[in-house]
Symmetry: C2
Subunit: 209 residues, 2 copies
């Protein structure tokens, strides 16, 4: 399946069994540390201890703390990527572009409850990495949907929309500003509907979905 | 003038003359280092040497490198803030909200040529600081204009729009993707025009400005 092929972009590529097992042990240990103690407690030392592997193994596999953080964020994003690329509509293929765009924003906002901490921590490792494969995949998805809506500049539109779904921003709005997911989703819906209306002058209101 | 009062938010507040002179020396030295060698060369040591003041003076005034970076970014933002809050229209008061919004995006995109490096460096100090006074001022400005356009959620809209004007993102698009300012401005214009159309159903197209 094509979706599965593309997902390789952020995944493992033909690793040997023992290497794959170590990778799994390390990532599970890292995820436990983040869930229990918060991302600021994630160090290569702590992960090696908890996974029962040598520090050298963690280092060879993931490099430094930032590498580990990004690998964790990729893990967290894997099932989400599968859902929007190959899962059931409206998030997955089969629904009209506007409906899929709205569903994408909803899912991105809602997954912050589970993945937000680690996504933000990964973003903050030297600033948001716009060239990261996960970011590229997200933008490619948004690009295809925006092109389907006939917006004038779908490439740039994908950058704009993904900036709004940045984990650091969403968590700030949820945690520091106390904004509900319902409010964030309503605003996302208004935004993408506006873009769709703007692109196609025959439509004068967002209309029912 | 009210605009000047508000600008105090990021400025000096009744400093004594010698302290103000040291501050000036330090910030000028820092700006020179950034302009000549790039933001990565900005260290408290290098600034102290160049400004001819003690390291302790730099430290007391600005704390660490991040504090210095933020102070430099604030400096760079000062004349921009004055322009959008108290300067001539359409960027300043006196033009309709949509026209001012468009002008704000244009000016933000164009100032990257001069201020982008330092703004991005400041953003990357521990991730973008959404609570920073400069960010708050920008959002307040966007909020007022979006409210003037009767959009449904101007507070959240201000967060969304300022996310797109993030220096890290704009520089990435300009430098790494080779996007022209004209293209970025056209997209900004389409975005805010779409928001305006969506807010007021009597308008069915962005219309001439």
């Amino acid at each position: 399946m094509q979706g599965e092929e593309l997902l390789r972009v952020t995944g493992d590529d033909g690793e040997r069994t023992d290497a794959a097992r170590n990778r799994r042990l390390i990532l599970d240990a890292a995820a436990e540390i983040v869930a229990t103690c918060g991302p600021e407690r994630l160090t290569t030392d702590a992960v090696a201890r908890r996974a029962g592997v040598g520090k050298g193994t963690v280092f060879r596999r993931f490099g430094n703390r930032a590498g580990l953080m990004h690998a964790l964020a990729d893990e967290a994003g894997r099932s989400f990527q599968h859902a929007f690329m190959a899962g059931p509509p409206p998030l997955g293929p089969g629904a009209p572009p506007l409906e899929r765009l709205i569903a994408f924003g909803e899912a991105s906002i809602e997954r912050m409850r589970f993945d937000g901490q680690i996504l933000r921590a990964a973003e903050q490792q030297g600033g948001p990495d716009l060239d990261h494969p996960t970011q590229q995949l997200t933008r490619l998805h948004l690009f295809v949907l925006l092109r389907g809506l006939h917006v004038t500049d779908p490439e740039l539109g994908a950058y704009q929309l993904s900036a709004f779904l940045n984990a650091g921003l969403l968590l700030h709005l949820q945690e520091r500003r106390g904004m509900s997911n319902a409010r964030l989703i309503a605003s996302w819906r208004a935004l993408v509907s506006a873009l769709a209306v703007d692109a196609d002058p025959r439509r004068t209101s967002p209309g029912p979905l």
